[in-house]
Amino acid sequence: MILYYKRAISDILDHKFLNTVTIITIAISILIVSAFILFFKNANNVMNSWKKGIRVMAYLQPDIPEPKVSEIQMKIKGMYGVQDVRFISKHEALNLIKTQMKRQSSLFENLKENPLPDAFEIRMTTSLHNQEKIEALATRLESLPQIDEVEYGQKWIRRFTSFFNLFKFVGYAMGGLFFIAAAFIVANTSRLVLYSRREEVEIMRLVGATDRFIKAPFYIEGLIQGALGACFGLGALFIAYVFISSNVEQSLSSGFFTIQFLSAGTLFGIILCSTFVGWLGCYISLKQFLQY
C-alpha cells in the first residue's frame, strides 16, 4: 500500500500541469457549490430570525367594553401556540405613532378623533414559526366575532418563502450539475494523464502487473486531487467569507444577524464529497481506458 501511495505522489509530481488543472477545476466547482451552501445557511438564519420577530396583530371592532377586552385576551392566550398577548389601546397606539413620527407631528394636530382601533399584539411560541401554523392561528383569531382584522405580513412571508424555496431548488440542481461536471472533468483529465502514459501502462501489463497494481495509484491520485481541490475551494471561500463578513457586518451595524461560516460537519461532508468526485472521475476513465 505504501508503494501505491509513493507511486501516486511521484506520478502527481511527474504530471504537475495536468494534476494542477484537475485540482483547480475541482476547487472552482467546490467553491461555487459551497458558496451556495453558505448562502442558504445564512439566508435560512436570516429567515429564522425574521420569523422570530413576527407578531400577529389582531385589531378589535370599535367600542368593545373593557371587561369584554379582558375576556377576549384570556381566550387568545388559551389558543395553541400563543406565548404572549399584549393589549394596545388606540390611545397607546396613537402615542406610539406620534413618538415614531416626531417630525410629522403637525399631521396629528388636525385629527378630531383617534382613527386607530384597539388591538392585541400576539407573540407566538417558537414551534409556531412556520407559515401554515401562523395562518391557522390567524384563521382562529378571525373567527372571534369581536376581531375586525388580523394582520401578520402574510403576503410578504408567502412570497419570501416561495422565492427562498425556488432558490433552494435551483441551488440543489446547480450543486448536482457541478458535481457531475466536476466528475466528468476529472474523468477527462485523468484520461489525458492515462493517454500520456499509455505506453507505460502497456509496459506494466506486459511485465505482469495486475489491474490492481496499475489502477491503485490512479485511484489514490483521484482521491488526493479531490481532497486537495476541496481544501483549496473551501480555503478560497473562507477568504471571501472573512472579507465579505467584515464589510457586511460593519454596514449592518444593527446586529440583526451575523454571517456564519460553514460548520465543521458541513466542511467535512464537502471534503468527503469532493474526494468521492475525484475517485469517481478516475473510476470512469479507468473503466474505459484499461480493458484487456
Binding site: 505506453e199 509496459i203 506494466m204 489491474d211
Partner: protein, 229 residues
C-alpha cells in the same frame, strides 16, 4: 535441439490461425517448443513472427486453434490470470519499450514491484541483474540519455529479473550495431545456460548462424519449414 538438458515441452500450438479482419496473419501453425530450447522464428517482414510471439503472451488471442504454455490452455485463461501468465515470460522488444520518465533502476524494478516483492530484495536483485548486463553504473540514468545498445541491455535486465521460464525477444538486435548486437546475443546465451527457454523472432540470418538452434521459418503466415541452424 534441446542440448539434452530437459526435453519436456513447454509450448504447444495446435492448428493456430490468426486473422485481422480479412488479413490472415497466421495459418494453421502447429509446433512444439521444448524447455530450455534456444529457438529462432525467422521470415521476412509480414511473415507473422511478431503475431506468433503475441499469441504466446496473450498480446493477441487466436482466431482458431489452441496454445498451451506449461500445460496451461491460453484460450481458457481468465483475464485475471493473464498477469500471472505474463510473469512466466521476459519480453524484449526491438524498440526496447522502456519507460522514459523512470530511471534505469525503476524500469527494471517495476517487474518485481508488480510481483509484490519487498523493497530490500528488489534493490539487491536489480543491482545484481544490472551488474550482469554491465549497466550497474547507470542505475539513476533515464533511458533517453542511453545509447540503443545500452537501452536494450536494460530491456534484457528487465526481461530476466523475474527469473522467467521463457524469454521472448522480438527483433532484439534490429536497431543495434554489430557490437551491441553481440553483447545482447551473449546475454541471451548466458540466460539460456541458466535454464530459460529463449525464443527470438528475427530476420537477421547472421544472428541465427552465430547462435545455432532450431529455426522456424514463417512466410505469409504459413509455417514453411523447421530447420537446424
Amino acid at each position: 535441439m534441446t542440448d539434452g538438458k530437459d526435453n519436456s515441452t513447454i509450448i504447444r500450438m495446435f492448428h493456430v490461425h490468426k486473422t485481422y479482419g480479412n488479413k490472415k496473419a497466421l495459418i494453421d501453425i502447429t509446433l512444439e517448443i521444448a524447455k530450455n530450447e534456444f529457438l529462432f522464428i525467422s521470415g521476412p517482414s509480414g511473415a507473422g513472427k511478431t503475431t506468433l510471439l503475441k499469441l504466446l503472451y496473450l498480446g493477441e488471442t487466436t482466431t482458431e486453434g489452441q496454445v498451451l504454455i506449461d500445460g496451461m490452455n491460453l484460450s481458457r485463461i481468465s483475464h485475471k490470470r493473464i498477469p500471472f501468465l505474463r510473469r512466466k515470460y521476459g519480453i524484449i522488444f526491438q524498440d526496447y519499450k522502456l519507460i522514459p520518465t523512470k530511471t534505469v533502476f525503476n524500469n527494471v524494478a517495476v517487474v518485481l514491484e508488480a510481483m509484490g516483492k519487498k523493497r530490500r530484495f528488489i534493490e539487491k536483485k536489480v543491482k545484481s541483474v544490472l551488474r550482469t548486463v554491465g549497466m550497474e553504473e547507470r542505475l539513476q540514468a533515464f533511458p533517453p540519455s542511453l545509447s540503443g545498445g545500452e537501452q536494450q541491455r536494460i530491456a534484457v535486465a528487465r526481461a530476466v529479473i523475474g527469473d522467467p521460464k521463457i524469454i521472448l525477444a522480438d527483433e532484439p538486435t534490429g536497431n543495434l550495431d554489430e557490437d551491441s548486437a553481440d553483447i545482447i546475443l551473449k546475454l541471451l546465451k548466458k540466460f539460456h545456460t541458466r535454464g530459460a527457454t529463449i525464443i527470438v523472432a528475427t530476420h537477421d540470418k547472421e544472428l541465427i548462424r552465430k547462435t545455432g538452434g532450431r529455426v522456424i521459418h514463417l512466410n505469409q503466415g504459413y509455417l514453411q519449414k523447421i530447420t537446424a541452424a
